[in-house]
Symmetry: C2
Subunit: 225 residues, 2 copies
DNA sequence: CAGTGGTCTAGACCACTCG
DNA sequence: GAGTGGTCTAGACCACTGG
């Protein structure tokens, strides 16, 4: 027993076996380093990892304790739509249905903090020619480089390469298909669609884009714990 | 400039400014440590963090390069339902609607790898007395401690404290309300519901439980990037 | 096989925060 | 104020893998 992953495993074992009960404090790093016969940095690495996964809670001076009611954390991959399609072994294409400048509605203004006129795009993404995702996007030209021809490269893909590593919020929901979605995706109104909504911001917190993706019926977002 | 977070910020800046273009290799840790005037371990920490977020790709011998088409990673919190409800400032309660031993249907057998008879539970979770989540759960008694009275403590909550830090898979989808869900939640058939499906496994990979949570209309799963 | 990242060590200082 | 985790350093060895 010496690597930090071994130490993490031993700590987990003690939690499972109730050697360290839920909600209880565990020994300090120094003490564990002595017991495990390793450097404190190694213990630190193991405990920090478990804290990042919601198993432990750590505070200076207060020490480390096992979380009483764990809030598990899972990691999601947010790929570009073209990659999603190609990962399924299908061919991606897209069609721009709407592109103009317009005033954002109230809901978009609230989420982005932008009230000026924005570029609005409706794009249908296809997998092997069949509807895959219906995208409704608002772009803030004020904080973007010169825009390309979105018939050539989808806004979805252009943004990840032109705006590297921005921050923002994501939300997932289930919604019945609206008029535009039903028409574009060839489904009945009200059919349950998986919807992803995202606001992307630059380093100063100014909104770059707001996008709403409605996925075709049957779509599942997966991950492991 | 000296902490690992400062170094991470500087690396990100260079990527955004295209000093290091998308897809290109960046200097080795040794070289960067000299340039930044810090220890190699500090550079390592910064680069490892960016790799875990999908910005960099690292391989021994091959070195570190900027990912050409970034796959952003987001972290989700998976709380216990009672915590979710209470975080909204509402009061949680639950009702067990069905509890018996039965043969799992094909879909559950495929996902869990279990074909023997399992304990089946249908539970309705309420927030301030109104339907919040409809839970359909399969439990494998063979790998569980003695079961409690699920009218007292919901299976959802009992499991997180009795089966600490298990692994498994999660999937999210949008589905129209089925017969059981429509009746239990008081909504019309076919209404779009946000559905969470989870398989939990013990250390040996044996399925402990399969659960399907149908959230009441309006539910949104949120996170930040 | 050799270069690069992955990890460990022993020691040190610091920042936060509980009491 | 003092105890605990957070981080940094300088050096070392190791594991993986590309050429």
């Amino acid at each position: 027993m010496s690597g930090w992953e071994d130490i993490r495993a031993e700590v987990l074992r003690r939690i499972r076996m109730r050697v360290w009960p839920l909600g209880a404090a565990i020994p300090g790093e120094e003490e564990l380093a002595v017991e495990f016969g390793c450097a404190r940095a190694t213990v630190n690495r193991a405990l920090r990892d478990l804290a990042s996964k919601g198993v432990l809670e750590r505070r200076r001076k207060a020490g480390t304790r096992v979380v009483a009611i764990p809030v598990r954390k899972a990691t999601l991959d947010i790929p570009v739509i073209r990659q999603q399609v190609e990962a399924l072994g299908r061919r991606h294409s897209h069609r721009v249905l709407v592109q103009d400048m317009r005033q954002p509605p109230g809901a978009i203004r609230d989420q982005t903090g932008l009230s000026e006129r924005l570029l609005y795009l409706e794009t249908l993404h296809l997998a092997d020619g069949r509807p895959f995702v219906f995208e409704m996007r608002w772009l803030n030209p004020a904080v973007l480089p010169p825009l390309p021809d979105f018939a050539e490269i989808s806004a979805n893909e252009w943004l990840v390469t032109s705006v590297t590593y921005a921050t923002g919020e994501i939300a997932f929901a289930a919604e019945g298909a609206g008029t535009a979605e039903a028409a574009a995706m060839g489904v009945a109104m009200g059919v349950a669609l998986f919807v992803t909504e995202r606001v992307t911001r630059d380093a100063e917190g100014v909104a770059i884009t707001h996008v709403r993706l409605a996925h075709a019926p049957g779509y599942r977002l997966r991950t492991v714990m």
